[in-house]
């Protein structure tokens, strides 16, 4: 019994304490997320049986979690709110927020547990449907509840992509890369240089993001090549070096001169009289510490409302037609090979609609509801004041990344990565080319940080070299390790947990502490110097790296395989236990027989 109730208590307390930090409507949103987490965690604990029985066995846990959440949240609005010197929350918000929070916590957890009665594949599909619903509605709920989390969640999602990319290198191919942020920087700087008014080059974001990914991939190959003969610690040290060099390089690319060597140096050396061909002279590519800003932003549809016809529009239309032709070819291939499942057909229809929506402006209707939906689908230029559009863009990039990475993992190349990770020599005996396999791991891994870099540069409208230093590489590595090396779902959870903690939780904790100290402890300190010291040091953001380190150290001691582990890596970390497990049933069998 205790085993089932304990997660309820843990979740309830964590959720409740979070409401202390955010107050207001937060209890409603936190309750729903708590329910999701609890449900996903609980479902696996039960055997598959009918939904009613499942709900019955999970009910106590769900109720306990919900009750603790509401009790703590009520304590927040009645006592804590006053203690930190804020105006009390409106009674209506308290009542509705707690009701929604309670229903969300109990409802979502029971729903996910009940889904466990279905066969595995169907359960999976339903789970995805529930998660999709949450992902789609989140930014709107966030807006309505005035929590304003979306703009910060977007940063967490950037790190999810980075984690997914690094996971290819570290998790699949087993190559410890301590300088992964270098590729993030390369993606971001490519975007900055190609789409900023500072350089008078303002290419379209939708083109630049692919160039950024390609640049990152190429540099993945170039920086990967010298590390090929190295293993383990030595590989880590060299990648660390590259991670340090790249930001420094960008910091110093402020006076670039490229001359054609033949006409400028070699021929004159032999006395020839040639005019020197200069490609660029004193070109300030990155603007050093100042960074590049502003940077162009994406806009949808690609052909803007009221755009005049001209060369640019012709090119866009040609690209659209090419996209449609490619889609048509794929459709023809699927159709003629007999792959006519309704799901596949719906996929093609959706893709065709997506191409039209992406390229062509849909006329507005003067119906406010329809127009506001159209405003989300085709928002024009993406603005900082509307994080929703950015949110859906990055969700789209993540879905694309997950799709590609899953295909890669299950492909020949994916199996070659795993074999190399296990034993390079044995892999070569199987006919796997270690050079090609490792280089492709670096290149594919870097591609995704290229996407992330391009998005990041456009989202914050500027890039600065200090963002991409060693600490960024380490944070990305933490995301992968915390979530579960080698597991896509794990990395996503790792990125969300670590980065929302960093971006939402710590700043909220800082405000909370500051307000709390101001009303309680600070007035009772007479010495102003001590008062100032307490005030300044009670800032958890100062300790964020300490906290990262602590989290990682605790994880390594308690659950080294991460929150959602990969099977093979769990086996590696628990080798002795696994052997014991296998031997024990064997000896039992022996006795019987």
């Amino acid at each position: 019994m205790m085993k089932i109730i304990r997660p309820g208590i843990t979740f309830g307390i964590i959720g409740g304490l979070l409401t202390f930090l955010f107050g207001g409507w937060s209890v409603a949103v936190i309750g729903c997320f708590m329910g999701l987490g609890l449900g996903l965690g609980l479902a696996g604990q039960f055997e598959r049986k009918n939904p009613l029985e499942l709900v019955k066995s999970a009910l106590p846990t769900a109720l306990i979690a919900g009750v603790i959440l509401v009790l703590l949240s009520l304590y927040q609005s009645s006592v804590v709110q006053e203690a930190i010197g804020k105006r009390p929350t409106a009674e209506e918000i308290v009542a509705k927020g707690n009701l929604i929070g309670f229903l969300g916590a109990v409802g979502f957890s029971l729903l996910l547990v009940a889904l466990h009665s279905l066969p595995e594949k169907q359960e999976q599909q339903w789970k995805i449907a529930v998660l999709a619903l949450v992902v789609i509605t989140f930014p709107f709920v966030d807006q309505a509840s005035e929590l304003r989390w979306t703009s910060q969640i977007i940063f967490a999602l950037i790190f999810v992509i980075l984690g997914l990319g690094l996971n290819i290198v570290v998790g699949y191919a087993g190559l410890l890369d301590l300088g992964y942020a270098a590729f993030f920087a390369i993606g971001a700087y490519t975007t900055g240089i190609l789409s900023s008014p500072v350089h008078n080059i303002q290419w379209n974001f939708w083109l630049v993001i692919w160039i950024a990914a390609a640049m990152a991939a190429i540099w993945g190959l170039i920086l990967g090549a010298p590390t090929l003969p190295l293993r383990g610690d030595y590989l880590a040290i060299v990648t660390l070096g590259f991670g340090e060099i790249v930001p420094v390089l960008f910091k110093n690319l402020i006076d670039v001169t490229i001359k054609e060597p033949l006409t400028c140096w070699i021929l004159p050396m032999f006395g020839a009289n040639t005019t020197c061909i200069v490609f660029t002279e004193h070109f300030d590519a990155t603007l050093g510490e100042k960074g590049i800003s502003p940077i162009g932003r994406p806009a949808l549809p690609l052909i803007a409302h009221g755009e005049p016809a001209g060369a640019a529009m012709t090119i866009k239309i040609v690209i659209m037609l090419v996209a449609i032709a490619i889609l048509g070819y794929l459709f023809w291939r699927a159709w003629s090979s007999g792959n006519r499942k309704p799901g596949v057909m719906a996929g093609f229809a959706g893709a065709l609609a997506a191409i039209f929506i992406f390229f062509l402006p849909i006329p507005r209707t003067n119906n406010t509801i329809i127009d506001s939906v159209l405003g989300i689908i085709q928002p024009g230029e993406f603005e900082s004041s509307r994080p929703v559009t950015w949110y859906f863009l990055i969700i789209g990039i993540i879905l694309l990344s997950i799709f590609i990475i899953r295909r890669l993992r299950d492909s020949r190349l994916g199996r070659a990565w795993m074999a190399i990770r296990e034993d390079e020599l044995a892999a070569a005996q199987m006919g796997i080319d270690p050079v090609k396999t490792k280089l492709l791991a670096f290149a594919m891994g870097a591609t995704f940080s290229g996407f992330a870099g391009a998005f990041y540069a456009a989202y914050i409208r500027g890039i600065f070299p200090s963002v991409f230093d060693f600490s960024a590489s380490i944070i990305i590595l933490c995301v992968v390790i915390l979530g579960g090396i080698g597991n896509i779902n794990g990395v996503i959870v790792g990125g969300l947990v670590l980065m929302t903690a960093d971006r939402l939780f710590l700043p909220a904790l800082k405000d909370f502490l500051a307000a709390f100290l101001k009303t309680t402890i600070l007035p009772s300190i007479s010495d102003p110097a001590v008062q100032l010291a307490v005030k300044d040091n009670a800032n958890p953001i100062l300790y964020r790296f300490l906290l990262f380190g602590l989290t990682l150290a605790i994880m390594m001691a308690v659950r080294p395989e991460g929150l959602i582990p990969n099977e093979q890596i769990r086996a590696e970390l628990h080798e002795k236990e696994a052997v014991a497990e296998v031997e024990a049933p064997k000896s039992k069998k022996g006795k019987k027989g």
Partner: protein, 235 residues
């Protein structure tokens, strides 16, 4: 089919193979016997391209293997069940066997070959989703052999398949080697168990400190006084 000519292989300045020449013809079992450190494993490693010989040539069906990296040699049809097994410990039995078939582009007969491997090694079928590293020594040996078979190689290199196995298992393994050969696989078999090896092989080579000291039909080697004294323990 496979021909080594005057092969010299070094580990740093240790001269491990001193001008080895040998041939394996299509459909044969050829065995390489010799005591510890004679250079048997080094010969197999040289054939597979895991170490490069300093001079001499290794030719498989007209292709010079000594110039190629190990993974290309594997692609050309050389598979090895290595000494110490070198299976993938954290992959399941099935995944190990799939890795064995990695060199094959055409996987249409994969299921058949898998079934065939399981008829030869029924024990592996029972352990199909168990991690390689948790198998017993004998099972790991079977897995290494089955994995090499899955590549459908032109020539199968077996490095001491009977090492460390119980006598019953040794007989079983040699039976399987014979069966494989009858099905058409060419085999180069390295063994310390000279009696067993010579009793199933067509021809044999005796290796001593990196040199071939004897080469003959297997039944003749069995009667050779030097072989009897040194490797068969007959006084």
């Amino acid at each position: 089919m496979l021909e080594l000519k005057d092969v010299n292989t070094y580990y740093g300045n240790i001269h491990a193979l001193k001008g080895i020449s040998l041939t394996v013809n299509d459909g044969e079992i050829v065995t390489l016997i010799g005591s510890n450190g004679a250079g048997k494993s080094t010969t197999l490693r040289t054939i597979q391209g895991l170490i490069k010989p300093r001079s001499g040539s290794v030719v498989l069906d007209g292709v010079e293997l000594q110039k190629l990296p190990a993974h290309e040699v594997a692609t050309l049809g050389v598979a090895q069940s290595p000494e110490g097994r070198m299976i993938f410990p954290r992959m399941t039995v099935l995944e190990n066997l799939e890795m064995g078939a990695y060199v094959r582009r055409d996987l249409s007969s994969f299921q058949n070959d898998l079934e065939h491997a399981f008829t030869l090694f029924p024990r592996l079928k029972e352990r199909i989703s168990q991690k390689g590293g948790t198998l017993s020594g004998g099972e790991q040996q079977m897995l290494a052999m089955a994995r090499a078979m899955m590549a459908k190689p032109k020539i199968l290199l077996l490095d001491e398949p009977s090492m460390g196995l119980a006598p019953i298992l040794v007989e079983l393994i040699f039976d399987i080697i014979k069966k494989l050969n009858q099905e058409g696989t060419t085999i180069l078999l390295v063994e310390q168990n000279a009696l067993m090896a010579l009793s199933i092989a067509h021809r044999g080579y005796v290796l001593q400190t990196g040199e071939v000291v004897l080469a003959d039909k297997a039944e003749k080697l069995l009667k050779d006084p030097m072989v009897q004294k040194t490797y068969l323990g007959v006084e």
